[in-house]
Structure formats: C-alpha cells, structure tokens
C-alpha cells in the first residue's frame, strides 16, 4: 500500500467532514486568527509575569483587567479552534470555566471552592502566598521549607477553613457576632467578652470531617510522637505581629491533639488579642485561626537568633541566644549563652562572656540566670560548625524575607539543626537609617555600572562577585554572593536561592532566569553587557535594581534601610494576589502532545490551554491533506523542484500561474510571493543538502520514502508536505525526517497585515541535544528580530507588521534554517557546539554575491536551479 492509499484508508476510517474549496480560505483565516490570539495571550501572560518583579507599580484594577483580557482571548481561541475543527473541541468551554472561575474567585479575594481550601494540609504541600488560609506562622515556615529547603520539623496545618467549619458546626457564628458587637458598643468589657467566647469555643466539638482530616495526618508515625501545637492566626507574624498574644502548646500527645486544637483556637479571643486587633482596626470576625501542628524536636539545645544584632549595636552580625534543652530561651528560663556570628565568611564566632550577657534579647524575654560554668561544655552542646550553619541559614531566611528576622531554632540529639519559627524582628524606629543618610551614602559611593539592563526582580543585595560559567563554578558558589553570569541558562536555577543578587549579561525580564529570581525574591538585573568584564571576581558590590545601579563596596545605609523600612513589596496584597494568579496562569505543564493527558481535562493553567489549542489547530491543518487525497474536485498541484520533497500546493487564489495546466507546476509558475521566497532558498546548492541530490521523479519519490521510513514509530498518516497559498499568503507544513516545520506568512502592501510565524519541532536524539538545536535556532532567529519562545525542543518564532520585503528576507532565513537543521540532526553533542554551529550558519549564509538574511531587502535574486548536476 503506497502512502496515498494509506492516507485514503485513514481518511475513510475517520468519519469527518471533507472541507470544500469554499471552506478552505475561511479555515485559514481562522487559523491565522488563532495564531494572532495565541500571541496576544502569551503577551498578556508575559506582561503579568514581568509585573511580579517589583519594577512596576500596578493595582488591583490592572490585575482584574489583565485576567479579563486573557479570558476574552481564550474564549476567542476556543471558538476559533471549534470553527476550524467542526466543533470537535466543545469540551474546552468547560476547561475555560474550570480555569477562569478560580481566577475570578482570587480576584474577588475569595477561596470558596472546597477543593481550593483544604481543612488540613501538610506543611510540605501548603500552597504558598495564601497566608489567609494557613496564617502567617505556618506560611512562613512553608516558604522556608519549600523555597529555601531548610530543615523544618514535619507537620500539618489545620487551616482557617477548618476554623470556619468549627464555628459553623457549633452554631457559633451569630453568637460570636453578638458578643463582639456588644463589646464594641461598650456593653461588656473585653475580659467578659473574651470569657464568653472562649467558653463557647472550648465547649464545642470538632466537626467529624475536620477530626478525620487531622487523624489522617497522625497515621503512620511513631506512637510516642508528640506535637507542638502552635497558633498561626491570619496576620500573625506577617505585616501585623501578634507575637505572644496567642497560645502555643508543646509536647502534646496525638490523642490530646483535638483538645489542644480547641485551646489554641480559643486563644484567638484572649482579651489582649481582642484589644490588639481593635487597635489595628481589624474587625472581630475578620480574625481567623489556623493551627500548626509539628512533630516535637527533642532538643539538646535550643534558642532564638536575630539576623541583626541590633541590641549589641552589631548590625552586621547574627546574634544567637542558646540554652540547654527545649524552649528555655523563649520561655525566659534557664541559662542563656549568647554568641555573635559574623554574617560573612569565614563566619567568626564570638562567645560573649557572662559579664556582657546582662539584659534580654530585645523582644524576647530571657531569664536572668546565665551560663556560669560548663554543665555540659558548650563546645559539645553547640559546636562552632553548627553555629555557623545556623548563622548562614538565619542570613538566608533574612535575605528571602527581606526583613531582619527573629528565628526560633533547636538542635536535636543527633546534632541536626532545625528551624522552628521565623518572624520579622521588631525594629525600633531609631534604628532605621534616615533617608538623608541613604541618599548621601549612595551619592558618594563609587559606581561600577548605572542605567543598564532590565530589572528581573527589584531589590537591593550585596556580596562578593562570583562569576558562574561552568558546573564547577556552580558547585563552589558561596551563599550570599552576587552571581554574575554570561547567560541565563535554566540550570542556574540551582544556585539562585543562595545568591544575594544576580547579574546576567544576556536575558530579558520575561526569561526563565527572571522567573526563578522572582520565585526566590533575589534582586536580579539581566541584559547587562560586559558585566563579566567590568565586575571583578571576589569584589564586594551592592546591586540596587530599583535604580539599576551597581556600587563598588557595601552601601551600608542603603542595605540597612532596605531591611528595616516598612514595606516589602513582595508581601503586599497586590503582589501576593498576582503570584497566586500567575500560578494558575503561567506554568506550562502540557509539554508533550503525545502524552495521554494532552487533553482539555489535562489543562491546568491558561498557558496549558493556549498550548493545547495551538497544537490542535496545527493538527487540524495537518489533517486537511488527508481529505484532499480524496478526489473531491479540489485542484492540488505538485511542485517540480530539485528539492527531494513531494510538495503539494493548494491554491486559494492567485498563488499559481493561471496558465498552468495538468497537475504539476514549476517554481516559475508559482505566483505566491512567500512560497517563492522560501523555496528559492531551499533549492540553492548547499542549502537542502551538501550531498548530490537525485532529481528524477523516481529519485524524488525514493528519497521521500526514505525520509519517511527513517522515522520509526512515525504514523505515516501524520500528514504530507503541503503548501496552502494565495498570491500573498503561505501556510506550509513540512515533515522532514524527524523534524516538523510549520511556516505561516503573509506579505501584503500594508505592513500591518503581515506576519511570519515559524514553528519547529522534533528530532531523533535525546531531549538534551534536541534542546541544544532549539537553542541554536532561537539564537539565530532572535538575531533577526524574531520573538522566540523555546519549550524543550519546540521553537516558536514570530515577527509581525513588517514590510513585505522584510518578511521576505526572513522567509529566506527560515528556508536556510529548514535546510540547515536537517543536516545537523545529531551533531550537537556539547553546549559549545551551539556556538560553533551558529558561526557555521552565518558563514554559510554570506558567501560572496548573495544577500544575507539580515541585509537582503531587494527581493529574490537567487537563480532558479532545477537542473541536475548543480
């Protein structure tokens, strides 16, 4: 069975509508709209991503507007695909709702879907940026554990959703409201009100579903395991500090967990807490208590650390308060040892002698008994390597939260350090540097670079320059250094969390490294030319991306100001909302069109939907030739050319010489400008192949079948090589061996109608090599002002609104690339090869007497070359 027979068989098996000639122009119009919408959607997504970097000021309206625009475009895309595909994708309307309803709920500030707000959630799986669900304390710990990968005792959160269930289940909502109203009206004082509320809460029962969810978290562990049950009220440890107002219980046995839960929940209505919330302007009912349950660490030593020893007037040092056993420092009991650790390598440790240890650590109550003699010697209890490790972690947490931190920690019997809690350190106003001093310091500090690059993440960071160019450099990267790198490769992600700042010579604010920097809140400047040359290795610098400025040395006043002034933009409601929205919008999870979940139901984000629709639209076009194989009265031309491809041409109007007859045409008879431009280049010697090419028809066919059979597992019915053309339009599908190329181009008088879209996918080698080829393509295309997106081995490149001549120039480049990539299928063995092949390509395209892809503006000058022997 030859290929046509097989195609026909596939066709007859599939009961699908055969497009009539009238349908085709309409289908291609829709297809172009889909491409345009696809681009619009990606632009909105990129735009939102960039806003997360802190360089922009935006408000809620912007977010609402962007989501609305995105929804409109997606709706249009779904409609478009269904028009092209005869309504075979109506399921996508449900997908649209499934993805956009939660986005709308987020915008309204509501998480009303039960699945979205679980009753109980393990700390390691807690969704980030939802402090209203888990409270500040638990959210902070989740970030420390999930983002910074620091050891936090395992546990789970009983969410504010469970708290609301609790009130509802015990029919207490109304009663609570009345008591609080009476108190606010002055009819009862806070002690009476508090007593009443707490009585009701403690007398209530935990709803069955909540109790079941809690018990399921207790299963599997050791029986004798005990728990720390801590308050994690919404707002606590966040912008507002409720530190110490609520209850935390230690050493709770599993069987007593439910009563401990009630006790902690009741503490939300302590008289002090009521007064505090009133002062802060928080209404009674707004308060909600999440409860964090963590496995107890059997501590041989524990304590508190401040990332800035402000109380010792040593703001560049970490101060650690330590006492033997668990919880003594916090409870203000026992012997307390103080240590100062320098924040920079080699982290020298100063053990403060007894006579300096008078007085408590600022906001933490410390007992007056101090270490007098070594009960157990401190160097055994808390050896210096552990002290240094703790100090580096404390600094990392401070860097992440961009605030001086107060951290509770413990060391267990095995010598493992654990982070138990972290909250913003309360800073007395007089410690915040005066803004005049900041201005003065910045004005006098020597500047290494100014007003260069794009802001990927806003912020200020200081540290020694550390240049990263290889895997070995990655391994040696010291925490707290400034990463300076010539590229923005994805593998750099590994060291981003350790960096105090990032400076990259390449990249854009919408790129991959920028996204990672934002995730870890690391100040980052990308697209800084010559950064590798200008910034000396090891030199201490201060990177201020708010002002796109790199200072020599540490600008102390600026750094202190950043750590101590009141607003961290990442913590503002708008930024948190944006990050929550982005999580439902930006990630691309559907990457493999062959995967079983590449379905409407498999789409979990807006990006997934865009990708899915795009892929399906392309597939629909690929299916068209199958129906064309059926004798349906449609004129399909075969192109005679020295390129060994059996290209079929379908003319929508004006694309083929009206004088042409029979079923075959030569390139001279092709009137479609875009097809001519591309095919002329493809026919040049050395473009398609460096080897001699058989030119007779038989040779052409055998070459064609060879290309096909070289691809094991490839479905033969996957499509033929087809160009759909008009005088100014080209839609071209080429399946070359393992590569699939799609070109869609329009060349009209008015640049506003013009576009060129090039999509490349596939390859026979492993994904790494394929990705290298994708990188190579992306680089070459970018140099010609294409907007390029690369996902694994998929390259999508577009230009818009260029003059016909400029589109033509780029079509010729694309033609060369199609030929070029065909030749280097398995040659890209190492990353360095990408550079080499890039050079080879540019050498190839500029032999004397031929226009380069960049320079050629004067139409097609290359000779037609149909004859053998060339």
């Amino acid at each position: 069975m030859n290929i046509w027979q097989r195609l026909r068989a596939v066709y007859t098996r599939r009961l699908r509508r055969s497009p009539t000639p009238l349908d085709l122009p309409v289908i291609f119009e829709h297809f172009q709209e889909i491409l345009a919408d696809n681009q619009k959607a990606m632009e909105i997504i990129t735009d939102l991503g960039e806003k997360a970097g802190g360089e922009y000021i935006f408000d809620w309206h912007y977010l609402a507007d962007a989501v609305q625009r995105l929804q409109d475009v997606l709706l249009h895309l779904v409609k478009g695909l269904n028009l092209v595909a005869d309504n075979r994708y109506t399921e996508l309307y449900q997908t649209l709702d499934r993805i956009f309803l939660p986005l709308e709920a987020e915008l309204r500030g509501r998480l009303n879907l039960a699945a979205e707000a679980p009753l109980v959630c393990p700390l390691g799986e807690l969704p980030l940026d939802h402090p209203e669900m888990a409270g500040g304390k638990a959210s902070n710990l989740a970030e420390i554990s999930q983002r910074l990968s620091l050891p936090v005792p395992a546990g789970f959160v009983i969410t504010t959703q469970a708290y609301r269930r609790y009130l509802e289940h015990n029919h207490f909502d109304e009663r609570l409201h009345t008591i609080l109203e009476n108190w606010q009206a002055g009819l009862a004082d806070e002690r009476q009100s508090s007593r009443q509320i707490q009585y009701h809460i403690l007398a209530g029962t935990v709803p069955v579903d909540v109790a079941r969810a809690i018990r399921s978290q207790l299963e599997g562990g050791k029986k004798e395991k005990t728990w720390a049950v801590r308050s994690s009220a919404y707002g606590e440890d966040g912008e507002l500090s409720f530190a110490g107002l609520h209850k935390s219980l230690l050493g709770v046995a599993g069987k007593n967990l439910l009563s401990a839960y009630k006790e902690v929940v009741a503490s939300l209505y302590n008289p002090e807490a009521l007064i505090y919330r009133q002062k802060m302007g928080l209404l009674g009912e707004e308060a909600a208590m999440a409860v964090l349950c963590q496995e107890m660490v059997s501590a041989r030593v524990s304590g508190v650390a401040h990332s800035r020893a402000l109380e010792m007037a040593a703001p560049d040092q970490v101060i650690i308060y330590a006492a033997p056993g668990p919880g003594q420092v916090v409870q203000g009991q026992g012997r307390v040892q103080r240590l100062l650790v320098h924040a920079d390598p080699p982290f020298p440790v100063t053990w403060l002698p007894d006579d300096q240890t008078n007085g408590g650590p600022g906001t933490v109550a410390v007992g007056s008994d101090h270490v007098e003699g070594p009960g157990e010697p401190w160097h055994e209890l808390l050896p210096e390597p552990l002290v240094r490790q703790l100090a580096t972690w404390v600094s990392a947490i401070e860097r992440y939260f961009k605030r001086a931190q107060e951290i509770e920690w413990a060391v267990d019997s095995e010598g493992q350090v654990w982070i138990l809690q972290s909250r913003n350190l309360l800073i007395p106003q007089e410690k915040v540097p005066a803004i005049e001093d900041v201005c003065a310091s910045c004005a006098t500090q020597p500047v290494l670079l100014r007003d260069v690059g794009a802001v990927a993440h806003a912020g200020v960071g200081a540290g020694p320059v550390f240049k990263v160019q290889s895997d070995e450099d990655m391994g040696r990267f010291p925490a707290g250094a400034i990463m300076v790198t010539p590229f923005t490769a994805p593998w750099l992600a590994l060291i981003v969390p350790k960096a105090a700042g990032i400076i990259a010579e390449r990249g854009s604010a919408a790129g991959h490294l920028a996204t990672i920097a934002r995730e870890f809140r690391v100040p980052a400047l990308v697209g800084v030319p010559d950064a590798m040359k200008i910034l000396p290795d090891g030199e201490e610098i201060t990177l201020d991306t708010y002002n796109r400025c790199i200072y020599q040395g540490q600008v102390r006043a600026l750094l202190d100001y950043e750590l101590l002034h009141p607003l961290v933009f990442e913590d503002s409601a708008e930024f948190r909302l944006l990050r929550r929205l982005l999580r439902r919008i930006a990630p691309l999870r559907l990457t493999d069109p062959q995967a079983p979940d590449f379905t409407p139901a498999g789409c979990t984000t807006v990006h997934d939907m865009v990708r899915y629709i795009h892929e399906k639209a392309v597939q629909e076009l690929m299916d068209i030739p199958k129906s064309l194989s059926h004798p349906s009265g449609v004129q399909v031309w075969t192109l005679l050319s020295n390129v060994p491809l059996d290209l079929k041409i379908l003319d929508l109007g004006g694309g083929i010489d009206p004088e042409a007859s029979g079923s075959k045409v030569t390139l001279e008879q092709v009137r479609s400008r875009p097809l001519r431009a591309l095919w002329e280049i493809l026919s040049l010697p050395g473009v398609w192949s460096t080897e001699p090419i058989p030119v007779d028809f038989q040779g052409m066919m055998s070459s064609l079948t060879r290309t096909r059979t070289e691809s094991p597992g490839m479905e033969t019915g996957a499509g033929i090589d087809l160009a759909v053309v008009s005088d100014t339009y080209l839609n071209l599908h080429l399946r070359l061996g393992y590569h699939f190329n799609l070109v869609d181009a329009r060349m009209e008088e008015e640049p506003v109608h013009n576009h060129l879209y090039f999509r490349f996918l596939g390859g026979v080698t492993d994904i790494t090599r394929r990705s290298r080829r994708a990188q190579l393509l992306a680089r070459i295309l970018s140099r010609h002002h294409f907007k390029v997106d690369v996902k694994g081995d998929l390259v999508i490149a577009r230009v818009l609104h260029l003059s016909a001549a400029e589109i033509e120039t780029r079509l010729r480049l694309v033609g060369r690339l199609i030929g070029f990539t065909r030749q280097l299928d398995i040659l890209l063995r190492r990353d360095e090869d990408v550079d080499q092949f890039e050079q080879t390509f540019f050498q190839q395209i500029s032999p004397p007497g031929e226009d380069t892809a960049e320079g050629g503006q004067h139409g097609t000058t290359a000779p037609e070359n149909p004859g053998p022997g060339r």
Binding site: K51, Y56, I57, D59, Y62, L567, S572
Partner: protein, 131 residues
Amino acid sequence: MEQRRLKILVLDDEPIVCKRLKPNLEKVGFEVDIFTDSTEALHHIQEHPYDIVITDLKMKIVDGMRFLKEVKKNSPQTEVIIITGFATLETAKESYKQGVFDFIAKPFKLGEIQKVVEQAAAKIRASEKAG
C-alpha cells in the same frame, strides 16, 4: 551649595501606589507626603504648598482633574503629574490645557515615574534660578 529638598504630594486611592512611591522617591532625595483620601488631600493643600503633585485621575469623590485645578489655583507654580489607568486622549488634552506637567499610564515602572519627576524637578530648579 546644597539644594533644598523638593516636596512631593502623592494622591491615589489605591494604597499600594502611595506605599511604593514614597520610599522610592525619598531615596532619590525628595520629601514625600502620601494621601489615599482625596478630600483630605484637598484640605491639606490649602495650607501646605508642594513643588510637585502626583495624582491619580480616577478617584472617588474628588477626581484628578478637579484636584489638579485646585492645586493650580492654590499654587500655580506646582508641577502636576497625572497617573491613570484610563488615559484617554480627551482627558489627556484637557489636562494639558489645565497645565499638567505630564501623564503616566498605569501600570508604570518606578524608573519611568522617577524620570518624569526628575524632569519636573529640573524645571522647578531652573525657574527658581532664573527667578
């Protein structure tokens, strides 16, 4: 000779705009007061002149255009910069007639507004020198 610090008033009923602009402009040497309540700001400017006023266009109660007129009435030399999410050509034209210094559309970059503010500051300093 050290230059005097110029005073800026920022009015926007979205607190995030004020909260972010204040430290940013302070860091480059301006003295900044912020308001989210337009009525309050209106009262305030009767007594306290500013060198530069940055105001949102679309606000509840007192809108940006009215605020602009009031500012100019009280102190004609004050430079006003309008920020808005709904910049239409018509309002832009109208505000230029009222003597607005420049227009910035939301969302905007910190660097963008800083540049405009610095241009306004340069104009003020130049006229002070001349005057």
